[in-house]
């Protein structure tokens, strides 16, 4: 029986054959994982999976330091730091008139190495993104489990957060809690813990700010479980809602979150989901304060297709998993974002994150 990774490589051979290309060069470690089950960490060194559609075989180009890291899944050819990858690249794809390559991953300088071999280069990135976008059952189960871990983390946090604790301290407790789940991978993590006015800054990082009574605390964090991500955002209030404005925008953001989720089913466009959230917030008068798209796909990558944005007309299909995370940010006051992970099912959708979204459930008694 062939495994899921071989099946995926087979599908890629078919796609390449259909487009008349013999070879594809894939380097994004996330894509390599998707096609082989092996997570490579090449750092700045060149590494690539070369799919040969004509012979239906694959091989991995690796720096010598990563010898044997493919664990027998695909054959390896390695190069020494001192010689560089040019020769093995030429051996692997030389003589091809055109190849498919991950243009969103490889940099322009690498691209020139291939162009110099006389290869015309086509982007294989979109095909890979399309394949990765629709998850199989095992992938969905893995993301579901990752979602259970973030749900459990929120329950844990609600029991221990109190005034005087700093953003960084809470972040550390969450990191430790998440890491201890067997299967959680520790080479990447995203845990955003923000308190008070800091919550108005979308891309702020945990600081030494100490929480105060009445503060809003925004927790946007992920669990990276068996190389699949979940991603959740909830807002807590310490003791009470210190600022009435925050209660007002909380209800609006919640309405937008629900309206967008309600839209999700096969056949609907991603932009329509974004519009549902955006219209809701715009009608409430805060359109200008909703600074980002409504969501992003979730899987091996924390941000991947399908992006739920106003300009993405991709049609939703069964097996897609993405976030719904509208938000309103008021400088000097604070920000609210409510994020869930949603799976497109045959008849509609299933929400993978289960933590309550009711404001009253997030007023922390301590």
């Amino acid at each position: 029986m062939i495994n899921a990774f071989e099946q995926r490589r087979n599908r890629m051979y078919d796609l390449l054959n259909e487009s008349g290309l013999n070879k594809a060069v894939i380097g994004n470690p996330k894509s390599v994982l998707y096609f082989t089950g092996i997570k490579i960490t090449p750092y700045e060194r060149f590494a690539a999976l070369v799919l040969d559609a004509k012979n239906r075989t694959s091989l991995m180009i690796l720096p010598s330091v990563d010898t044997n890291c493919m664990k027998g899944t695909v054959p390896e050819i390695t190069y020494l730091d001192s010689e560089g990858p040019d020769k093995v690249i030429a051996d692997a794809v030389g003589g091809e008139e055109a190849i498919a390559i991950e243009k969103g991953y490889f940099n322009i300088a690498i691209g020139e190495k291939f162009s110099k071999l006389g290869c015309k280069l086509f982007d294989v990135g979109e095909n890979i993104a399309k394949m990765r976008m629709c998850k199989d059952e095992t992938e969905i189960e893995t993301i579901q489990r990752a979602a259970e871990i973030v749900d459990s983390t929120l329950e844990y946090v609600s029991k221990l957060v109190k005034p005087g604790m700093t953003e960084k301290e809470l972040f550390m407790l969450m990191y430790e809690y998440i890491t201890k789940f067997p299967g959680v991978v520790t080479d990447e993590f995203i845990i955003l813990v923000l308190g008070g006015e800091n919550t108005a800054n979308i891309h702020a990082m945990p600081s030494d700010y100490a929480f105060k009574e009445g503060d809003i605390i925004l927790l946007d964090f992920c669990a990276y479980y068996k190389h699949y991500w979940s991603d959740i955002t909830r807002c807590l209030f310490l003791g009470n809602v210190g600022n009435k404005k925050l209660a007002e925008i909380y209800e609006i953001v919640l309405g937008a979150n629900l309206a967008a989720i309600e839209k999700v089913k096969p056949g609907v466009k991603a932009s329509e989901v974004d519009k549902a959230a955006r219209d809701y917030i715009t009608n409430a008068g805060y359109g200008e304060q909703f600074l980002h798209r409504t969501g992003h796909g979730l899987g091996i990558d924390i941000h991947e297709e399908p992006y739920i944005s106003a300009s993405n007309d991709i049609t939703l299909t069964e097996g897609m998993v993405f976030t719904i995370e509208p938000g309103i940010y008021l400088p000097g006051i604070g920000g609210v974002r409510i994020e869930d992970n949603v799976l497109v099912t045959k008849d509609g959708h299933r929400i993978l994150t289960k933590t309550s979204k009711k404001l009253e459930d997030h007023i922390i008694k301590y």
Partner: protein, 366 residues
């Protein structure tokens, strides 16, 4: 660091660009952008770029809406695009009419390259200009790397008592992370920690797993500490109980190689001489084939950056360069030994920034 530091760096960048007849340049690597502005941005999947106008001596940042105001406090102008329109209009407005554009080709993806080519401006690679600037550290930068290495020493000393039979690699990594993260000034958003025990340590790029430490194991602890965005990188091996003669033997060889390479570091010699010094020792003892990688890499804002200590790099060492010296020997199914220090090139020779003990007796846990 104060804004003037970044302004001075931009002035130098303008000057280098003018010397190369490049009127404008587009850079995007987060660390280069930080080096030039003091603003640390995380692009995730979105486009971020800095346009340096060498003639007008002006700098603008092309940023998505979510990063609005990220340049406040600097003289850098923000050109904001929203998620649905993408960055192309902003690029056109910043670059229209430019006769030649310098591009960080080792950073921007081929896909962004295609976007840039739509502007119909001839392009030239400017990666090296910024690599070279970042390669020579000023006193403040060296101080930060020293601070980072002090944090690393402390964290490792705290970890040592926990290294015993039955503890998992992941537990060690978590403890090390928490020890570092608690130090004010330590940046917690990225981490690079290897704690590999027994045969796992034979993989130079392995990742901490649920594997438990056993008697007779060697444990490689290779980890990086990021202090105010500057990295120190330190590796030591420990032994759980008395090591076998074979492990003792290769430990002594690697240590000899580490010290021989450090010894040759001074201004005026090519990087490859440093690599050769370590490689000669290991080859002399018959383990040349098991030294799978170069001897070291630069450290600074990036964990791996120029200068690289490999056996072909002719780059001449200069005062202010900081890099690792980390020879290793890896024996499949047995284990690996790597001893890594960070070294700065000084006027009269070098200074070792990492001070953790390398005495075999002091790293055997009995």
């Amino acid at each position: 660091m104060r804004q003037e530091v970044y302004e001075k760096r931009r002035e130098r960048a303008y000057q280098y660009l003018r010397e190369n007849q490049i009127p404008k340049a587009l850079v995007g690597q987060s660390l280069t952008m930080y080096y030039l502005t003091g603003a640390m941005l995380h692009p995730y999947d979105r486009f971020l770029g800095l346009v340096l106008d060498a003639e007008k001596e002006e700098c603008s940042a092309i940023i998505p809406g979510v990063n609005l105001n990220c340049m406040s406090g600097t003289t850098v102008k923000e050109i904001v695009y929203n998620d649905s329109e993408g960055p192309i209009k902003a690029l056109v407005s910043a670059l229209e009419g430019c006769p030649l554009l310098g591009v960080e080709m080792n950073y921007f993806s081929m896909r962004i390259g295609n976007l840039i080519s739509k502007l119909n401006i001839p392009v030239v690679d400017v990666t090296d200009i910024f690599k070279k600037m970042r390669m020579i550290k000023d006193e403040k930068e060296i101080d930060l790397i020293i601070k980072a290495s002090e944090c690393a020493n402390i964290a490792l000393a705290k970890l040592m008592p926990l290294m015993k039979e039955g503890v998992s690699e992941k537990e060690l990594a978590l403890e090390l992370y928490c020890n570092m993260a608690k130090t004010p000034g330590v940046i917690t958003e990225t981490t690079c920690i290897q704690t590999l025990a027994g045969p796992n340590s034979a993989n130079p790029h392995g990742w901490p797993s649920d594997n438990l430490l056993k008697k007779g194991d060697t444990v490689t602890v290779d980890f990086c500490t990021c202090y105010q965005y500057y990295w120190a990188d330190l590796s030591r091996n420990f032994f759980i109980g008395e090591p076998s003669d074979q492990l003792k033997d290769i430990y002594k060889i690697v240590l000899e190689a580490n010290m021989a390479a450090i010894d040759v570091v001074k201004p005026g010699i090519p990087a490859k001489m440093v690599d050769q010094a370590a490689r000669d020792i290991i080859e002399k003892h018959g383990y040349g084939e098991k030294f799978l990688h170069r001897t070291g890499h630069g450290v600074g804002l990036d964990i791996h950056e120029d200068p690289y200590m490999d056996d072909v790099n002719e780059l001449i060492l200069e005062e202010g360069m900081v890099f690792t010296i980390e020879p290793g020997i890896y024996l499949e199914n047995i284990g690996g030994i790597r001893i890594e220090d960070d070294v700065v090139v000084t006027k009269g020779g070098h200074k070792v920034l990492t001070s953790y003990t390398k005495e075999l007796d002091e790293i055997v846990i009995r």
